[in-house]
């Protein structure tokens, strides 16, 4: 009863969410395979511009795809995002000081089936940012490795009926900085620069005709990030370099369908983030990691598994932030290659 079990990487759902809030973390979620389980791990890439998280791959901590026992799948992904408007508090504005901010992310991620019901994820993104010319600020962009992520996804429920299949998963993802980037350099910062722990629950229902729905809810605990100054203002004075990065509730809803004998998967998705605390970006001022970053994002995702080349797949996605608070109105396009094979005989 695992029709797709060996094609995991070949049919995944990938979505990537990128949220770049201004320059901070973008977590990217990826989901890859078609089979289910744990894929929803967050890869842990977060970018915060103010803190969004996005995963980009399939087989991620946030989807329902599971790797078969001892199979491994790699994702190589490139993503381009940009924004020229952002929400200062709840007010959408432009800012000629930064003009259009561009963000490019190259991600390498792997998913491994520890058992048929438990997947392990690891990922590392490289990010570069800059403003378009001309701009009034003359700020240098930056680049470097962002946050590594490690995760597990467990398939807790799988029930098959005449009409389809229901499955449910729990995932846990940990991420933390992989380089000495400065999270306080907004909106160009590579990430939030703080340890993050994402807990997620995923429910998935697939009809026999290939149509499916998926819902994900999660809480992302975010720790402290260290700035390079010993004082900052966050609705009051703080005499420390440490900034408390607001944690958040994150959720998403997905509708998708498998086509061509399970060789193509297409999805439409919505995702949201609601930070549990934080201050607003002040008037005409730079964002900082303490900001409350909320956002709503919609996008589409497709993953194609080459029927004639075992294990190989390609994916592409697009999404954009449609509403937010202290967040960039970012639009993102990404494309990647997945390759899956049996690691141990």
């Amino acid at each position: 009863m695992k029709p797709h079990a060996f094609k995991i990487c070949q049919k995944g759902d990938n979505y990537v969410y990128l949220l770049f809030p201004f320059g901070l973390y973008i977590p990217i979620y990826l989901s890859l395979s078609e089979m289910n389980f744990y894929s929803k791990f967050q890869m842990g890439l977060l970018t915060l511009f103010l803190g969004l998280t996005c995963y980009t791959w399939a087989q991620s901590p946030t989807d329902e795809l599971m790797m078969p026992h001892r199979e491994i799948c790699f994702l190589g992904n490139y993503e381009f995002g940009q924004f020229d408007e952002y929400w200062e508090g709840s007010t959408l504005r432009t800012n000629a000081t930064i003009a259009t901010v561009k963000r490019r992310t190259a991600l390498l991620m792997a998913a491994y089936g520890i058992t048929d019901k438990l997947d392990f994820y690891v990922g590392l993104p490289y990010v570069s940012t800059n403003s378009t010319l001309p701009n009034g600020g003359k700020f240098a962009g930056t680049s470097g490795f962002q946050d590594y992520s490690l995760g597990l996804k467990y398939q807790a429920v799988k029930k098959t009926s005449e009409k389809g299949e229901f499955s449910a998963y729990a995932s846990l993802n940990f991420s933390n900085r992989a380089s000495d980037y400065l999270s306080d350099y907004q909106p160009y910062a590579l990430g939030l620069g703080t340890p993050q722990l994402a807990w997620r629950a995923i429910a998935h229902y697939k009809w026999n005709n290939g149509l499916y729905l998926r819902g994900v809810g999660g809480y992302i605990w975010k720790g402290y990030t260290e700035a390079e100054r010993e004082y900052y203002y966050n609705d009051g004075s703080y005499y420390t370099a440490w900034m408390d990065v607001p944690s958040s509730w994150n959720y998403e809803a997905v509708v998708g369908k498998w086509f061509f004998a399970n060789s193509l998967r297409v999805e439409l998705n919505y995702s949201g983030q609601r930070s549990t605390s934080g201050d607003d970006i002040r008037a005409y001022n730079a964002p900082q990691p303490t900001n409350q970053v909320n956002m709503d994002r919609v996008g589409g995702f497709a993953h194609y598994y080459f029927p004639k080349i075992k294990g190989l797949g390609v994916l592409a996605y697009y999404n954009e932030v449609i509403d937010g608070k202290n967040a960039p109105k970012m639009s993102v396009f990404g494309a990647g290659v997945t390759y899956q094979f049996r690691l141990l005989k």
């Binding site: 800012n95 400065l182 340890p195 009051g236 004075s237």
Partner: protein, 511 residues
């Protein structure tokens, strides 16, 4: 497997839980024994008045009088009925509230240090003290504004405390807890007469100065003053007439400080575009260059072009500290600097980045003058200064900082020297380039001036604070927003300016 997952996640969760930090929102210290009481402090030379005795308060009633005894009973009963919140305030204010009011000033500076953005049509509206609500709200607490607010605050506190010390040792009224041994004292017992309350001088002078500087914070500051005055009674040291007399001195000296402020020239510092253009053109005719703002949309006027004309505290005339001419663009020295800046930008090191950010003190922060007040507060507590000594330290340092700012702004708009981003094609920075000319660097002058006063008052820290000032200066070069000569010449300029304040300090009777 489920157990495993549970186990792993529990471990992670626990380890993260252990990471909770209490982030400090003020300097943490408890009440302490002053290193010196300075019984003769009332005879020191003040800044705004001729002598401490110039501020008058009533002769206090004898402690045996019924008037005093009834005040004592009120103090006693207030202490007995103290709420938990009042007790917390008492601990927070400590026996050196000079530091706490300085922190309130720093907080307001950071809150108001926001540069007005452009209007939809590309124009800019500047904050107007006549309509402080704005938008944009008044003030824009930029570094010159901050230096001035801190100088008036500290000078008023210092003069007021000299007056307080004068009457304390003239009348020698004992503290409430000494008159009635059943009254508990919240702080460390020291032999300082209670009339008038030094804390009340600080509370009322600070509230009045800061309300003038930050008019939209009037209600907040009124609340802080009330809370502080109440805690003075609850401390067990004072009765209400002690507090009222201190408050009177505070209000009277603040009025004198604000009278000086109203005519010091600050109201003319932000000019019209016509005046600004004529200043730029004068420099262009004199030197062949002029700074221009490169923001988008372009700001029509630089920041406070006439701050260099503001009345100085201790320097006889601003030209006395004006530095020599900067290198002519195209000269060998200039080209060497261009190369250095390009090299720094091409290979930015982590060390340079950290230094640039540590000293940046940019928009939304307490500014460089605020950073040096932060340092001074730490030294004040470390060296266990009394309220009087603390106010003196901050007064001389903040006078030197403001004089440094005035001298620096004089040079900035006299020479009108372009910034690196204006001169070097495609040059990018890691710090924001401010809206005023390059030469000399404000950070360099503020920091050198502050560090020299601190070196004078805390000789054990001299080499350290001077090294800090030099690092603050070069941080601007690492950030890409200043030439190296802006920093080095600015550092010397700040030292020169500070010497005038140090000379005054050396002869005020305290050392």
């Amino acid at each position: 497997m489920k157990k495993h997952l549970l186990y792993i996640s529990s471990v992670i969760l626990l380890s993260l839980g252990a990471c909770h930090k209490d982030l400090p929102t003020e300097l943490e210290f408890e009440s302490y024994q002053y290193a010196s009481l300075d019984e003769d402090g009332g005879e020191w030379s003040p800044v705004l008045i001729s002598a401490g005795s110039e501020l008058e308060i009533p002769v206090p009633a004898e402690t045996s009088s019924s008037a005093y005894q009834s005040e004592l009973a009120m103090t006693k009963s207030a202490i007995q009925n103290m709420t938990a919140a009042q007790k917390e305030n008492l601990t927070r204010w400590t026996n050196n509230p000079v530091v706490r009011w300085n922190e309130i000033a720093l907080e307001l500076i950071a809150k108001y240090n926001l540069i007005p953005g452009p209007n939809a049509d590309g124009t800019y509206t500047l904050p107007n003290p006549a309509t402080p609500e704005g938008p944009p709200g008044f003030p824009f607490a930029h570094p010159p504004y901050a230096s001035r607010a801190l100088a008036y605050l500290s000078v008023a506190q210092f003069d007021g405390l000299i007056a307080a010390w004068h009457y304390k040792y003239l009348y020698n009224r004992p503290a409430a807890y000494q008159v009635d041994s059943s009254i508990p004292f919240a702080y460390i017992k020291q032999e300082i007469p209670a009339y008038p309350s030094d804390g009340a001088v600080i509370a009322s002078s600070s509230r009045k100065i800061l309300t003038a500087m930050f008019p939209l914070e009037a209600a907040y500051l009124e609340q802080k003053e009330k809370e502080h005055l109440e805690s003075l009674l609850l401390s067990g040291e004072f009765v209400s007439s002690d507090v009222e007399a201190g408050s009177k001195i505070g209000n009277d000296i603040a009025a004198k400080a604000l009278a000086r402020a109203s005519t010091d020239g600050m109201k003319n510092a932000q000019t019209s575009k016509a005046v600004s253009d004529s200043i730029a053109n004068a420099a262009f005719e004199r030197f062949g260059w002029k700074w221009v703002n490169l923001e988008s949309p372009q700001r029509p006027v630089g920041l406070t072009p006439l701050f260099g004309k503001v009345k100085m505290w201790n320097v006889p005339n601003v030209e006395a500290t004006r530095p020599g001419m900067p290198p002519v663009p195209g000269s060998e020295e200039y080209e060497a600097d261009v190369k250095m800046l390009k090299d720094y930008a091409a290979k930015r090191t982590l060390e340079h980045r950290k230094i640039a950010n540590f000293w940046q003190d940019g928009l939304g922060t307490y500014t460089p003058p605020g950073h040096w007040n932060d340092f001074a507060n730490r030294f004040i507590v470390k060296y266990k200064m009394s309220t009087l000594r603390a106010a003196r330290t901050l007064a001389y340092m903040n006078m030197a900082i403001m004089d440094g700012g005035i001298s620096c702004w004089d040079a900035k708009y006299y020479y009108h020297y372009p910034r690196p981003i204006q001169q070097i094609d495609g040059f990018e920075t890691i710090a924001g380039t401010p809206n005023f000319p390059s030469y000399t660097s404000g950070h360099s002058v503020f920091s050198a001036a502050a560090s020299e006063v601190l070196a004078y008052i805390f000789p054990n820290e001299a080499s350290m604070v001077r090294a800090w000032a030099e690092e603050a200066a070069v941080s601007r070069v690492y950030g890409g927003i200043h030439w190296s000569f802006d920093a080095t010449v600015g550092t010397q300029q700040g030292r020169n300016v500070a010497q005038y304040s140090i000379n005054r300090a050396a002869s005020d009777g305290a050392d």
